[in-house]
């Protein structure tokens, strides 16, 4: 019973892209909403440019800190290839949000493998609820491409139907004063971006 009511958010990207902050912001908001929450993070070796994943699960009672394959309600991918890598975690009717960012992994840089150029198009064509967003570009317009993770928080907060004031409060609490303006703007733009999808 409680099993049905658990919501699973999978956030994937490349080490260094700021996925941890995104999952922590979302987690803080759902705690405020009174849910039981578990978040799983990746620290250590993979953070050096490897494939990273963080997982947020919430509901009346959450047991496992990690999401089962085929059980994610939302996958938020900071990078296209990573969206594809973690796709098997998505529920058949789950939502896939893909940031239009390409980061070549080592085998591609060295020419041993090819980057599937149109991977985002293929993903969108096979996943009914999916979309591509350009968070990095929008973040740059807000003042810093490094705020891309907060643009994505904005998009995700719409997909999850979260109260914007609560998310803003979490952002204020978790980010240093000097980058707040840029990030609040980025959050707002992310929310608006969802309308255009």
């Amino acid at each position: 019973m409680s099993k049905q009511a658990t919501t699973n958010i999978l956030i994937v990207g490349v080490g260094g892209q700021g996925t941890l902050l995104t999952s922590r912001v979302i987690a803080r908001v759902v705690v405020e909403l009174g849910h039981d929450v578990k978040v799983s993070e990746v620290h250590g070796m993979a953070q050096r440019g490897g494939s990273v994943v963080s997982q947020v699960r919430f509901g009346p009672r959450v047991y496992s800190p990690i999401i089962k394959e085929g059980d994610a309600d939302v996958i938020l991918a900071f990078e296209k290839l990573e969206a594809a890598r973690w796709l098997h975690y998505l529920k058949p009717d789950g939502t896939l949000i893909i940031n239009d960012e390409r980061v070549d992994p080592l085998p591609v840089m060295s020419g041993e493998a090819e980057y599937p150029e149109d991977i985002d198009q293929e993903l969108v064509s096979i996943v009914p609820r999916s979309t591509v967003v350009n968070a990095t570009e929008i973040a740059a317009e807000c003042g810093s491409s490094r705020a891309a993770n907060i643009v994505l928080v904005g998009v995700l907060s719409r997909a999850m139907d979260l109260e914007p004031a609560l998310v803003e409060q979490a952002i204020r609490e978790m980010l240093p004063e000097r980058v707040l303006d840029i990030n609040l703007k980025a959050f707002q733009r992310g929310r608006e971006l969802y309308d255009t999808l």
Binding site: V42, H43, P65, K68, L106, G111, E112, I126
Partner: protein, 581 residues
């Protein structure tokens, strides 16, 4: 209100609330955050020790001195600290002592996946295993009480998923525990054979008393459900069991050494079929079997890697995950790699070009074993590089040593490289040792160490001078170079390899991710008129450089380039130029 915490924060919190005054550790994923967080509390002392053995020894002293003491390390750290651990088990404590062992099933960031519950039986310790952050905080508090009550160090065994998963924790106030009086007591603390023989008797008495205690501990509980299957489990796997088999009867163990034999017998008698769900080794299963109880475990579940909920669904319920979406193209893997501006890149570039045998070690630089630089021959444990270089020389002769180097990070050198270097000098080896001094313990998230000249709390202290240490142990040839100056580095390596005596090259440049890096305010770009697409720059494996297949040209991403200046040195056509930022 309850607060979200990773397991490691909850452990720090629990220790703080329990009145712990001293905490020591050497960093190691997934344990590192425990000390980082604990050190921020008021009224406590916390330190990075040079290695785990010293950390535990400082902990032993603090406990003898009457303070409640927390010691934390990753699983392999306990191997380093095993010597004091086994004997501290004999002496017992004064102030309570909790040793956190952070195991890494699945090897997210480790060189092996040993199961440290084994140490519980081997060293005769009480071992507790929490299943979420709340329990982590509660069990630590309980552990301090039990440590003092049963006069034993207590091991808190956690795994990566516990350490790095956040869940809700109810906090409490810190209790003020006064220092216990210090009394000279050689029969308890001087482990001469005559005294130790008597202490061993006490250890056996203690284990008997603990075996009785765990039968009624609230950390162990039966959750009766469907009696057709009964699951014995602990730690994070408990959560997976609840997730996928919510109806099953479960015996949840919080004490994994010693085991509550009577409770297990009662549970076994109440179910038709008994299964132990434990990651890694069959520690519980084998003991249950030894009591003549019919039980399953490793015949169904693997002893390799961590579990997942879907693994339990498949192995216990016979339900395999169905594939919903299929992609037409393969997904290239994304291994971790050196950051843009990493000083290690220069070293491995040179070593690869020189085709040397490279006895490696553990740290960020172990990535030098992977493509495209792939220059490392071995990596066993922290500090092993120097000993293995000497061993290869003794096996294959001095000629071989002329083409062999040991490569070791600064933190690792201080941890356990110095004794290896002493061996080289003492036994007249001729090894060339390269110390990669990036001014930090980068791999585990940039911790201070003795050679950075700063403590865990960021205070200045006496800096361990690496050059002086090397000279002091008897190395006459010690030189310092910039690892991003390829010419200088190569010359140094060639010259030091050529001489028939031990030498040390200190390759010094701060990690690109720490403030001391003081990066140049410029980036590089490729002059596409000059670039002929030879790919030499691409082969240094910098994420800032990418290859445009259609144009057959290399490009530099200005957002990623930190201006380290390595790629212009490898370009034979001078096609990589600087641009002031």
């Amino acid at each position: 209100m309850k607060k979200l915490m990773i397991g490691n924060e909850a452990i720090a919190r629990g220790a703080y609330e329990a009145g712990a005054k001293v905490a020591t550790a050497y960093p190691g994923t997934p344990s590192t955050e425990i000390l980082e967080i604990f050190s921020r509390y008021e009224g406590v002392y916390a330190e990075w020790a040079p290695n785990e053995k010293v950390a535990l020894e400082v902990g032993c002293g603090a406990s003898m001195g009457g303070a409640r003491t927390l010691v934390a390390m990753k699983h392999v750290g306990v191997n380093v600290a095993a010597d004091p651990l086994f004997t501290f088990s004999y002496t017992g404590v004064n102030g309570g002592m909790v040793l956190v062992s952070a195991d890494d099933p699945g090897m997210f960031s480790s060189q092996n996946e040993q199961d440290n519950r084994g140490y519980g039986r081997f060293a005769k310790l009480l071992v507790l295993e929490p299943s979420d952050s709340q329990e982590a905080r509660d069990f630590v508090k309980e552990a301090f009480e039990l440590s003092e009550r049963f006069n034993t160090p207590v091991m808190l065994r956690i795994t990566t998923r516990l350490a790095h998963s956040q869940s809700l924790v109810e906090e409490g106030e810190r209790v003020d525990i006064p220092l216990k009086p210090y009394e000279k007591n050689p029969a308890k603390y001087v482990m001469l054979p005559g005294f130790a023989r008597l202490r061993h008797v006490e250890v056996e008495k203690r284990m008997a008393a603990l075996a009785e205690y765990v039968e009624n501990s609230s950390m162990n509980r039966i959750e009766w459900g469907d009696r057709k299957v009964g699951i014995i489990t602990s730690g994070i796997p408990y959560q997976y069991v609840k997730e996928v088999m919510s109806e099953a009867s479960v015996l949840k163990l919080g004490t994994v050494n010693p085991l509550p034999e009577n409770l297990i017998r009662e549970f076994a008698a109440g179910v038709d079929k008994l299964i132990v769900v434990e990651e890694l080794e069959p520690v519980i299963e084998e003991q249950v079997k030894s009591w003549g109880i019919d039980v399953q475990g490793k015949d169904i579940l693997p002893c390799i890697s961590e579990f997942t909920p879907e693994l339990l669904e498949e192995k216990l319920l016979g339900q395999a995950v169905e594939e919903v979406f299929t992609l037409s193209t393969p997904i290239p893997p994304r291994p971790p790699l050196f950051c843009p501006g990493c000083p290690h890149r220069g070293v491995f570039y040179v070593l690869k070009r020189m085709r040397l045998t490279v006895c490696g070690d553990i740290g960020c630089y172990t990535l030098g074993a992977l493509n495209p630089l792939a220059a490392m021959d071995s990596c066993i444990c922290m500090g092993a590089s120097i000993g293995t270089a000497l061993g290869i020389e003794k096996a294959r002769g001095e000629e071989f040593a002329r083409k062999t180097v040991a490569v070791i990070g600064d933190s690792t050198f201080v941890h356990s490289g110095i004794t290896g270097l002493i061996d080289v000098v003492y036994n007249q080896g001729t090894s060339t040792v390269i110390i990669l001094d990036n001014g930090t313990t980068a791999m585990t998230g940039h911790q201070e160490h003795p050679a950075t000249g700063r403590t865990l709390s960021g205070n200045d202290t006496i800096r361990l001078d690496l050059e002086q240490v090397c000279r002091a142990v008897g190395v006459n040839r010690v030189r310092t170079v910039d690892p991003l100056n390829l010419e200088e580095l190569r010359t140094a390596v060639e010259e030091e390899l050529a001489v028939g005596e031990p030498s040390v090259i200190i390759a010094r440049r701060p990690c690109a991710l720490i403030p001391q890096a003081d990066l140049e305010k410029k980036t590089y770009y490729v002059d596409t008129d000059k670039c002929k697409g030879c790919k030499l720059c691409v082969k240094i494996g910098c994420t800032g450089i990418y290859w445009e297949e259609e144009e057959k040209l290399a490009y530099i991403n200005p957002n990623l380039c930190v201006g380290c200046g390595l790629c212009p040195q490898v370009c034979k056509l001078d096609a990589i130029l600087a641009r002031e930022a």
